[in-house]
């Protein structure tokens, strides 16, 4: 059986950042307490001319540069997000046209809170494995929303990760599983600007239960144990959740280090675990294993195991690394943040 996995990957993070101090100053809160509690120091903010579509295109161009394939060979473009610019009119149509994939292409927008991008990856994997398409493009991107003054404001960020799935991969997809229940920890109703959440309820019965269950199911399916992986990436609503979940599962902080992008990027929702995976791939050596478990409120978790191949050495430098985008930043004040995010209603 031909090996299937990641042929090319790419990340994109907007350049603007707002610090926890800057937000805490406005709301009269203690920045040190928040930083210690969340393990987040600043978050990315999209420019006024950036949205899920532009972020998806930029990340996908990086993935294409690494894959080195003719975009016309891409048979599916699936964009996962909870901030698609249109409610009706698929983001994927613009993304596919901008990438010049050709018109014989399956396109759909995915939504499953923060794990829509990994759901897209599973669909691409299935289609490639079934022989229906040669390559599939899965993207997770968001410009996440948060109500001014809400705890989410410290972390709700913008970024995206894109993955081309196909044969001759730089990382073989060894297996994937999902764990899904009806658990209402975070939601946004039709027509509402901002989401609502269950505060502490988003923890134990939601994030931790699903992330640990999906990861354990994957390890059981593949007969692997945490020590078989060099890198592990868990969805990053903040720094504390993935660190705690990893520890509970038996992963060390060293295994989480490469993919833990949240302290200086924030939670990019559908982009979160995928941007973490791009950072882990940037650091990985051939033969190493990477575990990725996403989480989407509502709720579910997708877990994957990848084994990195020699091809990563020839493809990795064909696009900017994730660290490049993390370092390429411009800090803004709260007023500019409000302007860029268009939070003032006229």
């Amino acid at each position: 059986m031909t090996q299937i996995g990641i042929v090319g990957y790419g990340a994109y993070i907007p350049r603007y950042r707002i610090t926890v101090e800057e937000i805490a100053k406005v709301w009269g809160e203690n920045a040190e307490d928040i930083k210690n509690g969340l393990m987040v120091y600043e978050k990315s903010v999209p420019g006024a001319d950036e949205d899920t579509i532009t972020i998806a295109v930029e990340a996908a161009k990086n993935a294409l540069a690494r894959a080195g394939i003719d975009p016309k060979k891409i048979g599916a473009v699936y964009v996962g997000s909870e901030s698609h610019p249109y409610v009706v009119k698929p983001s994927g149509t613009v993304v596919a046209e901008a990438l010049m994939t050709g018109e014989n292409v399956m396109v759909a927008d995915f939504e499953f809170a923060c794990k829509a991008g990994t759901a897209a990856m599973q669909c691409c994997y299935g289609l490639v494995k079934a022989g229906e398409i040669e390559y599939g493009l899965a993207i997770g991107a968001d410009t996440s929303q948060s109500r001014p003054g809400d705890a989410l404001e410290y972390t709700a960020a913008a970024a995206g990760g894109a993955f081309i799935i196909g044969g001759s991969p730089l990382a073989v997809l060894e297996g994937t599983v999902s764990f899904t229940t009806d658990t209402s920890d975070f939601w946004r109703r039709e027509g509402e600007d901002y989401p609502k959440h269950g505060a502490r309820f988003t923890g134990k019965p939601a994030y931790f239960r699903h992330v640990t269950a999906a990861t354990r199911l994957l390890l059981e399916k593949l007969s692997l144990k945490p020590s078989d992986f060099t890198h592990a990436v868990f969805h990053m609503p903040n720094g504390k959740f993935p660190t705690t979940a990893g520890k509970e599962l038996g992963f060390t902080s060293e295994q989480l280090k490469a993919g833990l992008v949240v302290p200086h990027v924030g939670n990019s929702y559908s982009g979160s675990s995928l941007v973490g995976l791009t950072a882990a791939l940037d650091a990985a050596k051939p033969g190493e294993r990477i575990l990725v478990t996403s989480y989407g409120s509502g709720a579910g978790a997708d877990s994957f195991s990848f084994e990195v191949t020699d091809r990563i050495l020839e493809r990795r430098d064909n696009a900017p690394k994730t660290e490049y985008y993390i370092r390429k930043k411009e800090n803004i004040d709260y007023g500019t943040y409000i302007k860029l995010k268009r939070k003032l209603k006229q």
Partner: protein
């Protein structure tokens, strides 16, 4: 009142705007953006073909917009530049980011961005803008 544009016009131009696609005369190698169907040098002897520009180029001139036209108010201050593309010919476009410190001859690369929006319920227009190449 919100400015609205022609949906068919956006549809017709999307290919050239999403990727800076113009034409080139194979006879004299002159590049055109927007694409031309007839070479102004070779006339009937010219052979026109589609050309996907790299988008890379340098700033020939620029101006900083502080009082923006309708639909662009949220971007002020921003720079609009005339860019000389590496393949030849010129294109006008917005330079993203803070315009302070921009200089003529600086190298630029293309980025995919929102260009404008027809209000909150209309079409979103996407296309290329430019940003400075790192290290200048």
């Amino acid at each position: 009142m919100t400015h609205t544009s022609s949906v068919p016009l956006y549809w017709r131009l999307k290919k050239s705007k999403y990727n800076v696609i113009g034409t080139r005369c194979r006879t004299c190698n002159t590049a055109y953006f927007p694409g031309r169907q007839l070479c102004q040098n070779c006339r009937r002897k010219g052979e026109i073909e589609e050309l996907k520009f790299s988008g890379l180029g340098k700033i020939l001139s620029y101006t900083i917009i502080r009082t923006a036209p309708q639909g662009f108010e949220q971007y002020t201050p921003y720079a609009v530049a005339v860019i000389e593309l590496d393949e030849g010919t010129m294109i006008s476009g917005q330079i993203v980011g803070n315009p302070a410190g921009l200089k003529i001859d600086q190298r630029v690369k293309p980025v995919f961005r929102k260009i404008s929006e027809d209000g909150s319920d209309g079409l979103i227009h996407y296309g290329m803008k430019w940003e400075l190449v790192d290290g200048q």
